[in-house]
Symmetry: C2
Subunit: 355 residues, 2 copies
């Protein structure tokens, strides 16, 4: 049997569950490798993937005997078929953080079972990556580094945020990415003060601070990366914040190793932000995998002991409302003694010439 | 007050609800124009938009006095603030088809109210478009037609599905689109047999049938469009299916007018498919708006009377497993006497020369 499903079956058994319904597409993909629409039922007797007419041919091309997954086209399953997957009143897990209230009621009606919350069982397993996942994320990070190297050599006078974002996407796809890990953030000047802004038609000008927050997707896996660079000159007002952000990232990455508690490490950073009177507008980072934002979130509320081979993005930032903002972010792999960079672009002051 | 929120308040009043919590981002955007992360609370005394530190500055830049929406940063709201938004045991609507089971429990705890299902209240209102929405979708359709015209003149020998898909995206963005309405489908030859395939590295060859299913997004609104074209020649085996699909689209678009029932029109199409022994792998179409797939879905199960100024995509298709498939799709606006095309590319046999 597919080893991840085997693992899940053991977990369900420990939790005294007779099965589980998995409908979050990222969890389905993690367990089965399938990216087609559908849902997976871990039932007492078999593993069932239910899809529809649009995808059944593609699913059947991908599944192998060793997966031990039976696929069905939903139109071939009757009310009775669904009722006979489990015994009445079996304890069956579901994804309470994904399934809508309407779907929950529909599940109760369809399967006639007791539905029990699974509290992020699969999401928690996804935190630590295996060799293949590390290979894919490493490759996504390499593409991202190259895209950054390319773009800083190719920003020309008068280019808009949108145009720069598009050049990044083009480069990533031409260099082996499936596509973007998320919509790129490219912000010039005062637009940088909003951490999650959308690229606009604002043109680059001399003296601008330029924020990139970009990532590639490779074989389904993401990278996450942010840098700030400067057009023609680095204004004095940016330097204190830049050094502070860089220092915070260095501290976090040296402390977040196997066995470290996220809570402790981030709590200390929050104290340093307060001393400097900087606002904290977002988390200091997050897991990265098939989803761009995975567990663990790097917040002081997160009482979580990190494990080796987890992959996390560390992204401290400083923002001055209406003026400017900046964050520096790399994707890291958690090791025994510290985090190791998977994105490797340098972090010295980068000043580009326009035109 | 913002007119859409005013409308919603009247609806809630008829339903004897003291308020509603709107968390589906498409519904939030429809009601407020805001695309920032957050949720909207229609409360007895005011309209509240709750966002977080990443977005508060951007939200405040967009809201005007006439919106009558108060914005909050979630970190500034205490447990007590949330509890005092409604009276205990007020009847408050929520989106049962969007809110997860976990969030539902969290709402009960946070607001101390009776949560009542609203059964797609806002989604149903979104079906009929206003003047501005029609203008944006019309523009998205124009960009899509132009992209199609461009790509059929620029497919060269040896190009892959991925490369063609990328050229379409580039053209759309360079011609005013915000981006894609959805990930483009470009399929060559046998890959067309799967209606929702992802572009691969398959190269175009003489004799190939080529399927496009593409759309642009303009000011947040989508277009949806499919065509099949042929490389160098139209093989005989494709012609019967092509004529059939075209005929089905023509019939549907002439019958789906103001006052027509989706059920009746589609039921007749299903009969014709059965007579020809063609499988039906997907719905015959769907509403198009901020979401690429909106209500109504064009299925015989859908007992729905169409209204003027609804915008729908009509996309009959025929699929032969392992061999080929094809669908033809246009975005239409529902009129008094028939549907009118918003995508206007011709549907004669289009044969392109490679190289």
């Amino acid at each position: 049997m597919n080893p991840r499903i085997k693992w899940l079956r053991n977990q369900l058994s420990s939790l005294k569950l007779e099965g589980m319904i998995i409908s979050n597409p990222v969890n389905v993909r993690y367990l089965t490798g399938l990216s087609e629409e559908g849902f997976l039922i871990i039932a007492p007797k078999e593993n069932i993937f239910v899809t529809d007419s649009r995808y059944i041919e593609s699913v059947n091309r991908k599944l192998t005997i060793s997966d031990e997954i039976v696929s069905y086209n939903s139109k071939d399953l009757s009310k009775y078929d669904y009722e006979s997957i489990f015994m009445t009143n079996d304890n069956v897990g579901f994804e309470e953080n994904y399934v809508t209230y309407e779907k929950y009621k529909n599940y109760l009606h369809t399967y006639q079972v007791n539905l029990l919350e699974t509290e992020g069982l699969i999401e928690n397993a996804r935190i630590v990556k295996d060799e293949e996942e590390i290979e894919y994320i490493t490759k996504a990070c390499e593409i991202t580094d190259k895209a950054f190297e390319y773009i800083i050599r190719n920003i020309k006078e008068g280019m808009t945020e949108k145009e720069v974002a598009f050049e990044i996407e083009k480069f990533m796809i031409q260099n082996g990415a499936d596509g973007l890990a998320f919509e790129s953030i490219v912000a010039f000047g005062e637009n940088t003060s909003m951490p999650h802004c959308v690229p606009t038609d604002r043109r680059v000008e001399k003296g601008d601070i330029i924020q990139f927050d970009i990532g590639a997707r490779y074989k389904g896996y993401c990278s996450d990366f942010s840098r700030v660079i400067f057009a023609e000159e680095v204004k004095e007002e940016y330097k204190e914040a830049y050094e502070f952000v860089l220092e915070q990232q260095r501290k976090i990455s040296s402390l977040l190793r196997d066995g470290a508690n996220v809570k402790t490490v981030i709590k200390d950073r929050e104290t340093e932000y307060k001393l400097k009177n900087y606002d904290i507008l977002h988390a200091f980072g997050h897991g990265v995998g098939i989803d761009i934002h995975e567990k663990p979130i790097l917040r002081s509320k997160q009482d979580y002991i990190l494990k080796e081979n987890s992959i996390i993005a560390i992204e401290p930032g400083v923002y001055k409302a209406g003026k400017f903002g900046m964050r520096i972010e790399d994707t890291f792999i958690v090791g025994k003694t510290e985090c190791r960079n998977l994105t490797k672009s340098k972090k010295d002051y980068t000043v580009i010439k326009l035109g």
